[in-house]
Amino acid sequence: MTSIELITYVTFSYLICAVVYLLACISTEQESGFRSGALGLLIIIWCVHTFAIGLRWVESYQMGIGRAPLSNLYESLVFFSWCIGLGLILVRMKFRTDIVVLIGLPVAFIALASTSLLDPTIKPLIPALQSNWLVAHVVTCFLGYAGFAVSFVAACLYLVSRGFNSLEPYLPNQRLLDEIVYKSILAGFPMLTIGIITGAAWADYAWGSYWSWDPKETWSLITWMVYSMFLHARLARNWKGRRTAALSVVGFGAVLFTYFGVNYLPGLHSYF
């Protein structure tokens, strides 16, 4: 089986897992066997996902190209959903809340499913992309994005819970959600920071300038500033609840724009 086939199976497994999770959450109580089983399923799928990424790496070596599977949009989406999967598993283990997983799984599924619109073949790397800094850059950025995605899901739930009293009983405790909003950003922010730093190091090696204000760089910096505002508001000004949740939503908007929207702006870096 090739990694591309494996990824399509993984994609649909995430969907199935989301359905199983939904059933488990509706039909049973917290900490039931069914729910643990659903979590186990998620972990297994995630491991297969990990394996598929590794397999693609091996395949690229077999084709004589030999590079980390992180360079085109297809590969980055596969990796992004991998990061989300990891984030969900960690949040589930630490905070024992299933609903974040329940909401996050379709996100991972959609990210993966959208790869079917893209060219999945392994192409050789043009010279500018042949850099270990690039690998470190992509990995850390996406781990950061995954943290922000988890925070975003929790923030939305928090806002819904505050906004619609009738839904509150069905959602996790607001204190817990608020904690998840904050903690996932606390984990994601250093990752994004390292991502920006390694990206700058790469640019310095490839183009001779660590920062050239191209739209992608600029937008990642804007994202960084938004989350920095979040942390200051939270740690130094003691903001909590609705306002920080709103900041988390804004921040994730910036993340999405950095990732997808920037392509619509004029004047992108062309990779030599």
Partner: protein
Amino acid sequence: MNHPKGPILDGSMVDSRIKDEGAGKEQSVLSDIVSFFTSVRTTIVILCCLAIASILGTIIPQNINLEDLRRTASPFYFRIVVILDLHNLYRSWWFIVLLLLLTSNLLGCLLQRLPKIPKEWRGAADKGSVSFHRSDSRPIHEVKGMLTESVSKLMNKNPTVVEGGEATELVWVKHRIFLLGFPLIHIAIIVILVGGLIGLLYGFKGNIQLREGEVGNRFVLYPSGAIATLPFDIAVDSFTLTRYETGQPKEYRSDVVILKDGKEELKGPIRVNQPMTFEGISLYQANYQVVGVKHVRLSVKGVDGAEEEINIRPGESIPLPGGELQIKLASLDPGTTSRGAGVEIDVERAGKQDRVVKVFRNDSDPAKVEDAKIRFLGYEPLYATGLQIGYDPGTVFVWSGCGLLIAGFVIILFTNLSAVSIRLTQGDGRTKIRVHGRSRRDRAQFREQVEATIRESLGKSSSGA
């Protein structure tokens, strides 16, 4: 640095306001300025402004030709653009002012806060997650012994003991390095900003084009377009372009020698992602151009049927089999038609032009010149390599700052400052016990642990006060 429930900042700002009420007006202006530069609110506002400015910069096209704009835009818009430097926004005066404000804000905050660190380092925990009083009928030294033993077990270390007058203080502090985490992060950002500023002021960037075999030191500065001279010469031995089987470029490589006063100083390849640095000036592979032909490969078949491969250079004459005719390159077509790349060849007889033939890569039949058949095999282009030149004395600062930043993150994420201080005093015939404690993480759990430890250690003979 006090966390998150009781930021010291808020306390200290209140203090200064209270003092101000008694003081004159000038002082309140001064303290307004001080609190402007030391407040997180300012930080958030500046960050917002920077974010909005950066967004503008990604919408308004940067580094365009202003002359074109003068002709097309309205005079009013044009004046605004010139004053605000909107098309060079990230280097405009007001953007730099914003960055300087951010730096001062950070610095102000640091200066205000650094002096407090030594005290916290020693364990002072005025505001914390646990704070309670008890009193006990037993004498101080006995209580001290019991508490030392049990709390030391909880904190996993021995206390520092301060005996001052009638009070005895026991202090346990764990992971105090945590206190350096946030200052380190902020210092790191100042260092990065300073590095960026140094680069902006003292660095330069430019571009140089050199043919294979050429030596040069004059380059074009970016973005002004002025010509400048390097303090050394660059000699380009060769440029190589390697492709994957699919035809995609795999590697661009310039082999160069750096010469200083004609002496060879450094030699090696420059590739994309592998620059060369000499005397702080870095050379990067940026682009290339085909500027001519090194030689053309032809196959020539004589009457006897023997096929021979020849390399012919521009300007060179080569005799055809038989010896009467000579051929010379006239022009090269790098492949603009469906016939592929090809050449025009002057055929000469006794030094005089006889006729012109054309051969192309994709021709099915060879070109015939009398008895000889000529095929086009390929050509070796002559390249000019485009090297980018960069000098930035600020990068050292930027990378050191990045290192500090990461160190700061490691500290705040992986250490957990916790402290307990117990103050014992004698009063009304009883030993009074004041307990303060704080922890950065899992505060509720820490509070319970401290309370339980002390309750159990003192047993029934003590009471809450």
